[in-house]
């Protein structure tokens, strides 16, 4: 995770907010560093994380995660991280007959109306396990990214319904944090809107106030 970003958002792994939906939008640039940031942030906060990764392979996130100080492999082995590797699963679902509905079932269907199987996968992954002791602080859902669902033929309303159900059941019922990524114009919130410039380096990101000259940086 990037410490500077934590400072800007005024948050640390031990006091992050629950029950919130965060939308990560990028337009004409690549905002994936935010995805890596939040993934490592919530793993370090000892949260149960369900990551629906449709853009990159597991090894990609793993390599970046190592630079940021988290091991995705170990998190997955100890049950902290549930990882849906979209790229690999897509091949499975298209070329192999599935006994049960697969989260990416819509790839097989000509007129897939909704993302219900994907939602059920998420709900199952983040359901609290009655093991007596609470191992993890709270559940987090991370989706990278929503525009892939649109590109794969799901209607905008179907994606909205998926988000709605994730918010309603998972965010409200289980009080967790959802993070999405989709490319679009970022929404300006009237009460709190801050704009910064950033520069990505090898293992960190620096943030600057708007208007600083590159010569100064």
């Amino acid at each position: 995770m990037f410490v500077e970003l934590n400072n800007l958002l005024n948050t640390t792994p031990d006091r992050a907010e629950q029950g919130k939906l965060t939308l990560l939008c990028d337009a004409k640039t690549d905002g994936s560093f935010l995805v890596h940031h939040f993934l490592s942030f919530y793993l370090k906060a000892n949260c149960k994380v369900c990551f629906v990764a449709l853009i990159q392979s597991f090894s990609h996130y793993s390599i970046v995660g190592q630079k940021l100080g988290v091991s995705l492999t170990m998190a997955r082995e100890r049950g902290q991280l549930v990882f849906l590797e979209g790229l690999k699963s897509a091949v499975d679902v298209v070329f192999q007959a599935q006994k049960e509905p697969h989260p990416l079932q819509f790839l097989r269907e000509a007129n897939a109306g909704n993302l219900k199987p994907l939602f059920e996968f998420v709900r199952e992954a983040l359901k609290p396990v009655d093991s007596g002791e609470a191992r993890w602080t709270y559940p987090v859902l991370l989706v990278d990214d929503l525009s892939v669902l649109l590109s794969l033929g799901m209607g905008a309303v179907a994606v909205l319904d998926f988000i709605h159900y994730c918010r309603a059941t998972v965010c409200w019922e289980l009080k967790l944090r959802i993070l999405w990524r989709r490319p679009s114009q970022p929404a300006v919130h009237r009460d709190q809107s801050f704009t910064y410039q950033y520069k990505i380096q090898d293992k960190s990101v620096s943030f600057f106030a708007k208007g600083m000259s590159p010569a100064v940086l």
Binding site: V157, Y165, A168, T169, W172, A187, R190
Partner: protein, 306 residues
Amino acid sequence: MLDSLLALGGLVLLRDSVEWEGRSLLKALVKKSALCGEQVHILGCEVSEEEFREGFDSDINNRLVYHDFFRDPLNWSKTEEAFPGGPLGALRAMCKRTDPVPVTIALDSLSWLLLRLPCTTLCQVLHAVSHQDSCPGDSSSVGKVSVLGLLHEELHGPGPVGALSSLAQTEVTLGGTMGQASAHILCRRPRQRPTDQTQWFSILPDFSLDLQEGPSVESQPYSDPHIPPVSKNAKVDPTTHLTFNLHLSKKEREARDSLILPFQFSSEKQQALLRPRPGQATSHIFYEPDAYDDLDQEDPDDDLDI
């Protein structure tokens, strides 16, 4: 006008955007309705019941009848809790009221319904619900119905928004400047011209409506320092910053006054017409009379004295 929006009844559209949200105003109007003793129904699709009721005191909350379509609107959980027919079914059920008590139905949000239902169906149901108090020949006096629909303008094309707009008795479009919210209210009363006005307002933490004067002129953004600020009472001369000339010089005025209009019959024109010009080709008329023609050799203009 903003605080008497519901007095007319019928469909009231609250058009908001990402920049100027409308749910606070919806809640303020719901609170007002509840305090007036009206029956208030909420069709909650977009936010949880908890979130909607937040900010209302228990007195208001007890008067709200909340229909929860947030938790499982599409019946994905396959429990039988969901209202059969979904939000549309609930709306249709409200068409069959027989109460004399006035009722307000708040749709949170109309956009949610419009995205998932055919526009024509939604319009038909909305029309039926909002006009049930004006059915001709109905002896039982059904109370006034107001339907408050929250519409996120940016989600829909001009077609569906236009259809809903034509159904609405009142349209409130939210906007603002310099952090101050405004509502542009377009009101269509029966047999009268539509009226519109802009009202500046803010919503207090307890969802009471606070009507305001508007941002002061001095604090307007992007004011050009070279143009002196106009005081409120001074009449603004509209001809000052035009790119074309509205005034005539003396010469231009004289030239205009001496111009002869093309259809004015002066003596010169008359002479020109009476004296045929040389070289003018004579024209022939070839006439084939048919059976019904009355060929009268008498000239009908003979008695005219020109």
